[in-house]
């Protein structure tokens, strides 16, 4: 009996060990590229090609250079403005639209949801020339507003679905009581639904911000000058004296600077991000 007990314990221990090792491998696989970027960005340029996993000496010269570089500063600011405004505009548009979609049954409702779902799968190159023409027509080429306009195609359909989902879950009693009191739709939305929906607003706003922050194709196509670019574009176009002499120390420093805010957001909001991502896709 004792023997059996020991065997069981041993088996349990082995199971837990395998689980732990699996966790460690996944963590290393997920984090190593970012870790390596951080390490490389902290090396002096003479030391850049060292392959020591832990650096013997560190310097912040790359970061100093990046922050003193005018065009990188401009693109960082552009990214902040574009991503923030895209998220805000998306939230306002989708909060308004999700109300009838979630709370009323009317003809054409399903069609609207269906169209939004189709737009999420649209290849972005298929709207590139049409958008370009429109942007030139509005005379906003090489400006932030062009990017905000283009990013709506990415953020609006997704946010609309997630928001409709969340709003669908609000108990109808709350709304009925307000209607009895003679509240208008607008008041119901802003005074009653909005406070309840605060977590959903944070989640979808965050997801829209991240999507706009990371976008590349539109930003590459609709901007021309260093002053108008967003960070992904300036990182992609960073070049050295020749193809083989890319300034990797600087590129890694810039990469860490754009990624760090996102990593912090993910650590703080992981639960909400996960619920938003799954609500928008699978859970229906």
């Amino acid at each position: 009996m004792k023997n059996l007990d020991n065997k069981w314990k041993y088996k349990r221990f082995a199971k837990e060990l395998i689980f732990l090792v699996a966790c460690l491998i996944i963590a290393a696989w997920s984090l190593f590229p970012f870790y390596w970027a951080v390490v490389s960005s902290l090396r002096a340029s003479s030391d850049l090609f060292s392959t020591d996993l832990i650096p013997s000496s560190i310097t912040i010269e790359n970061y100093k250079y990046i922050f003193n570089d005018e065009s990188f500063g401009a693109s960082f600011w552009n990214s902040v403005v574009v991503a923030t405004l895209t998220a805000l505009a998306t939230l306002i548009i989708c909060l308004l639209a999700a109300y009838p979609l979630a709370r009323c049954r009317f003809v054409g409702r399903k069609r609207v949801l269906m169209i939004a779902l189709c737009v999420t799968t649209l290849p972005h190159v298929a709207v590139l020339s049409g958008l370009f023409e429109m942007i030139r027509f509005f005379d906003i080429y090489n400006e932030k507003s062009a990017l905000i306009l283009a990013y709506m195609i990415i953020t609006v359909p997704f946010t609309l679905w997630v928001m409709t989902n969340f709003m669908n879950g609000i108990p109808k009693e709350i709304e009925e009581a307000a209607i009895m009191d003679g509240a208008t739709r607008y008041v119901i939305l802003t005074k009653i639904f909005l406070p309840v929906l605060k977590p959903a607003v944070v989640t979808t706003g965050l997801l829209a911000f991240i999507a706009a922050w990371n976008e590349f194709l539109f930003a590459l196509t609709f901007t021309l000058t260093n002053q108008a670019r967003t960070v992904p574009v300036s990182i992609a176009l960073f070049s050295g004296a020749s193809q083989h002499e890319l300034p990797y120390g600087l590129i890694m420093a810039a990469s860490v600077v754009v990624t760090l805010p996102l990593v912090v957001l993910v650590v703080i909001f992981q639960r909400r991000i996960i619920s938003g991502l799954t609500a928008g896709s699978l859970k229906g």
């Binding site: 949801l113 709207v127 590349f216």
Partner: protein, 295 residues
């Protein structure tokens, strides 16, 4: 669940108006223009005065060796990365589904590759895969797996493998979240029952979990394939200058912008759209289920 509203209540459409306007302006109209351009000889400098050339662009495309190569590359990436991501995503999802100390941290760690901009991941991996100074060659050399540095990006075959590697790294987190949501929607007592009965994990996985998870697996794979087929950012940055890895989106943009040939570029984009619509039809039964869940 619903408030009283007649089908013609103008309030509905008033609230929907900004959203519909945005969808029409940002997606609808540009898409129609691209469809139109694909039958013309439009150039970037002259989008207004174009002449209609019928199916000429489509005929050119059918005979364009470079396009066939781009299509082949795209489908290679989709066919290899999506199943890989599904398997890895399932492993991660099973781990995250377990209740253990530090699960919150594990979730955050797993999400990191998802949050890193694709451009940045391309740059990070480009540096790690650098043939001369890259850490990956160095580690493989030290472990005596290879005898001489491998040109991960410069070689035609290897660069496609590198793209798949980075794509798998970047998108497995999302896949694992989709599958985790699927696992959480299964009856949880079947996990516990199996544990109590002492059924081995492998048996439980193949006899219980996978059959129950099948709809989620299929839907997630189609979902990911719809996304992977338009791959652009990673290819554009990781193997820029190497035409051997060009995908359909990259090829379309090259014609649209670099060669300013909007007519032919639009044709390439429309054919890509056609593939997506075809995949989307497989996804259609799920669309309907999703809509029903909102009733």
């Amino acid at each position: 669940m619903q408030s009283k509203s007649t089908p013609t209540d103008p309030f509905n459409w008033l609230f929907l108006a900004p959203c519909l306007l945005v969808l029409a302006v940002c997606a609808g109209w540009p898409l129609l223009r691209t469809m139109f351009f694909s039958f013309t000889d439009a150039t970037l400098d002259n989008l207004q005065q174009t002449s209609f050339i019928g199916l000429d662009n489509f005929i050119t495309l059918a005979r364009d060796q470079e396009w066939w190569k781009a299509a082949l590359n795209t489908f290679t990436i989709v066919i290899i990365s999506v199943p890989l991501e599904t398997v890895l995503g399932l492993v991660v999802a099973l781990i995250l589904h377990k209740n253990f100390r530090g699960r919150g941290w594990m979730r955050a760690i797993v999400l990191v590759p998802w949050a890193i901009p694709t451009i940045v991941s391309a740059r990070m991996w480009g540096w790690m895969l650098n043939d001369v100074y890259g850490i990956i060659n160095e580690l493989l050399l030290r472990a005596s797996i290879i005898d001489s540095p491998v040109p991960w990006i410069a070689s035609n075959t290897l660069s496609l493998i590198s793209i798949i590697l980075v794509d798998v790294w970047k998108t497995t987190p999302y896949m694992s979240l989709l599958l985790l949501a699927g696992l959480q929607s299964l009856p949880q007592d079947c996990f516990e029952a199996a544990e109590v009965d002492g059924i081995s994990f492998g048996r439980m996985l193949f006899k219980v979990i996978l059959p129950l998870l099948k709809p989620t697996l299929i839907v997630s794979m189609i979902f990911r394939a719809l996304d992977a087929i338009r791959i652009f950012d990673l290819v554009y940055v990781l193997s820029s200058g190497n035409n051997a890895t060009t995908t359909m989106s990259v090829y379309a943009r090259r014609h649209l912008v670099d060669y300013a040939d909007v007519g032919y570029g639009s044709t390439i984009a429309i054919v890509l759209l056609f593939f997506i619509v075809f995949l989307g039809i497989l996804y259609a039964p799920f669309y309907r289920k999703k809509l029903q869940s909102l009733d």
